[in-house]
Each structure stands twice: as structure tokens, then as C-alpha cells.
Symmetry: C2
Subunit: 195 residues, 2 copies
């Protein structure tokens, strides 16, 4: 009955601790204590500490991918699509702040082959976003005087930095901040000589 529950609880605790203290600085003991289980139980579900970290990455990557797929499937007008995508992605990033922290900070702690897999799947995500913008450029809605990789990085930087300043207890709510950051980004992205 606790079958899934234990693994889930361990993952939950691991995310919180990794985000707060970093992967290398968090011991397996701490994790299992926080999860209220024993080390034996944990090692029954995960092969190693590395395995545990990868499970977190896998979850996030899957979530990210399905999320973007859905957005693209919605399709429609390009500029509006990009705007909706940005707001959506930012809002989701806020919902998963601790996961995001781990996601961005702990790549180099993974074993080499897993690092490669994560990088590969991340690139897929990146490319999908890049394609959205390229489409907008083709329609003349987005500026083309700045290399697309820079435009992409300029957006992802906002996601990445969220955990360093955004607080759920802060004055602005999730959706407000998502809208504000999107507004800033789209303003800089729009073609100067658009309609």
C-alpha cells in the first residue's frame, strides 16, 4: 500500500533538501530522516544517490516536454502563441521553484551518461521554443537583428533566476509576475517596425 508512497515521499524530501543545501551537501541520511523512512527502504527503491537525482530530472523533463507539446498543439497565431507560452512556462516554473533550482544547479553532479541524456532532452525543449520564435520572425513580428540563441537565452534567463528573487509571500502573485516578465520579454522581442 505504501508502495508508491515511500518513493514519492523520498523524492519530495530530496527535492526540498537538494534545493536548499545542494546535492553534494545533502546526505542520504538527511533525506530519509526528512521523509520518515529508513535508508534500507530508500535503497530498495533507488539504486544510488545519483539514481535519486536523476529521477528528479526525469520528472521535470517529462513535465516540461508534455507542457510544451500542449502549447504547440494549441497552435494558432504566432505572436499570441508565444505570449501564451511564455506566461504559461513562467507560471509553471513558479509552481515548481525548488525542482527548478535543483534542475539548474545540479547537472554536473549526475553521472556522465545521464548528464548527456538530460542535455539532449533539454536541447529538444530548447529547439521547440526556438522554432516558435523563428516562425514569428518569418512573419515579421519578431526582430531579426539579434541572433536567435541570444533571444532564447534572454528568455530562459528569467526562468532560471526566478528562484533567486521570487517569493510566494511577496507582494505580487504568480500570474501577475508571469504577465509582467512576459510583457518585458515580448517588448524587447517585437520587431521595431511591426504593424
Amino acid at each position: 500500500m505504501k508502495d508508491v508512497n515511500v518513493a514519492d515521499e523520498v523524492l519530495r524530501s530530496a527535492v526540498a533538501l537538494f534545493a536548499a543545501q545542494g546535492y553534494a551537501n545533502t546526505s542520504v541520511q538527511q533525506i530519509v530522516e526528512a521523509a520518515g523512512v529508513t535508508k534500507g527502504a530508500m535503497y530498495h527503491y533507488f539504486e544510488s544517490k545519483d539514481d535519486l537525482l536523476f529521477a528528479i530530472y526525469d520528472r521535470m523533463l517529462t513535465l516540461q516536454q508534455s507542457h510544451l507539446d500542449e502549447i504547440i498543439a494549441r497552435g494558432g497565431g504566432t505572436v499570441d502563441t508565444v505570449q501564451a507560452a511564455c506566461e504559461d512556462v513562467i507560471a509553471t516554473s513558479i509552481d515548481f521553484l525548488p525542482e527548478g533550482t535543483v534542475f539548474f544547479r545540479s547537472l554536473h553532479m549526475l553521472s556522465a551518461p545521464r548528464q548527456q541524456e538530460v542535455t539532449r532532452r533539454r536541447r529538444v525543449y530548447n529547439d521547440a521554443f526556438s522554432a516558435l520564435i523563428e516562425q514569428g520572425q518569418a512573419e515579421g513580428a519578431f526582430r531579426t537583428d539579434i541572433p536567435r540563441p541570444v533571444l532564447i537565452a534572454h528568455f530562459f534567463s528569467d526562468l532560471h533566476y526566478l528562484s533567486h528573487w521570487f517569493s510566494p509571500e511577496g507582494p505580487e502573485g504568480r500570474d501577475v509576475v508571469a504577465a509582467q516578465l512576459t510583457e518585458l520579454y515580448l517588448t524587447s522581442l517585437r520587431s521595431p517596425d511591426a504593424d
Copy 2:
């Protein structure tokens, strides 16, 4: 004669290793081996591993502060000042990419009191930048419909993310990227109804 040299070499190696593998995942052994000295030598100059990390932070904070002081001292027209400041800060961040990586990632590894000091000095830096923008807002050059903390975060996010995508071997040089990111930021920052 090697007085300063040893401590310097150790710091250099530490920055490179901390940036590449993280603080907690880097052993003192690795650092001294990379620096070509012994552990005894290192502990002659630094009290602890924590001390070593703090020395890196101290260097960066000092550099940052003097840098911003200089920019502000230059003064002049607000919008141009902000633009120059942005380009300058981004370019400098590129020059110190590994240091920046450590600077952003390893705060929570410092001992509590030192963490506070770093946070305090960081806030000073932040506030100075915020004041620059406030001035621009007062002159009607910058938008006021979005909270200033969000505007600030939107800028610092670019700095923070640099180490995740910028490569000195990439197609664009340091100054070009600095100019492009500044252009993007200032476009989103400018008041919609400016001259």
C-alpha cells in the same frame, strides 16, 4: 617571495574547481593538487575551506562595488548612464564567468554570519542599481507600470544565466553580446510614450 603567489594560485584553482564541480563536491586535496601546492601550505594561508570560499566572495564583491562606484561617478545623462552601466556590467561578468558561477551558486555553503555579510553587500550593489533606474523613471525615460524589483531582476537574470550558454569560443564576442543583451533590456525598460 611566494608569499602572495601561493594564496593566489590556490584561489585561482579553487574558483575553477568550484565552478566546474561545485563547492561541496570539491575536496581540499583536489584544490591543492591543481594549484601545485600541499595542504599544509594552503592551511597556512586559509583557516578553513569556508574561509577559502569567502575569500572568493570578498574579491568579487569588492570588484563589483568599485566597478559600480566608478560608473555612478561618471554620472551624466541617466539613460546613457544606464546603458553604459549595463554593457559594462555584462562585459565584466563575461570576463569573470567562473567567479560568477561560484558567486551565484555557493551562497548557502558559507557559514551563516558570512552568508549574511555577502547578502548585505549584495543588497548595497542591488540598491545602487535600483537607484539608477529610479532616477530614469523620475525623468520619464523608463516605464513605471512594472514594479522596480521586477525590472531589476529582469536584468540580473541575464548576468546570472550567462555562464549557462555563453562560450568564449562561440560566434559572438564579449562586447557584441554585451551590446545585444543591453539593447534587449533597454528596449523593454524604456517608457512606451518616450520622445
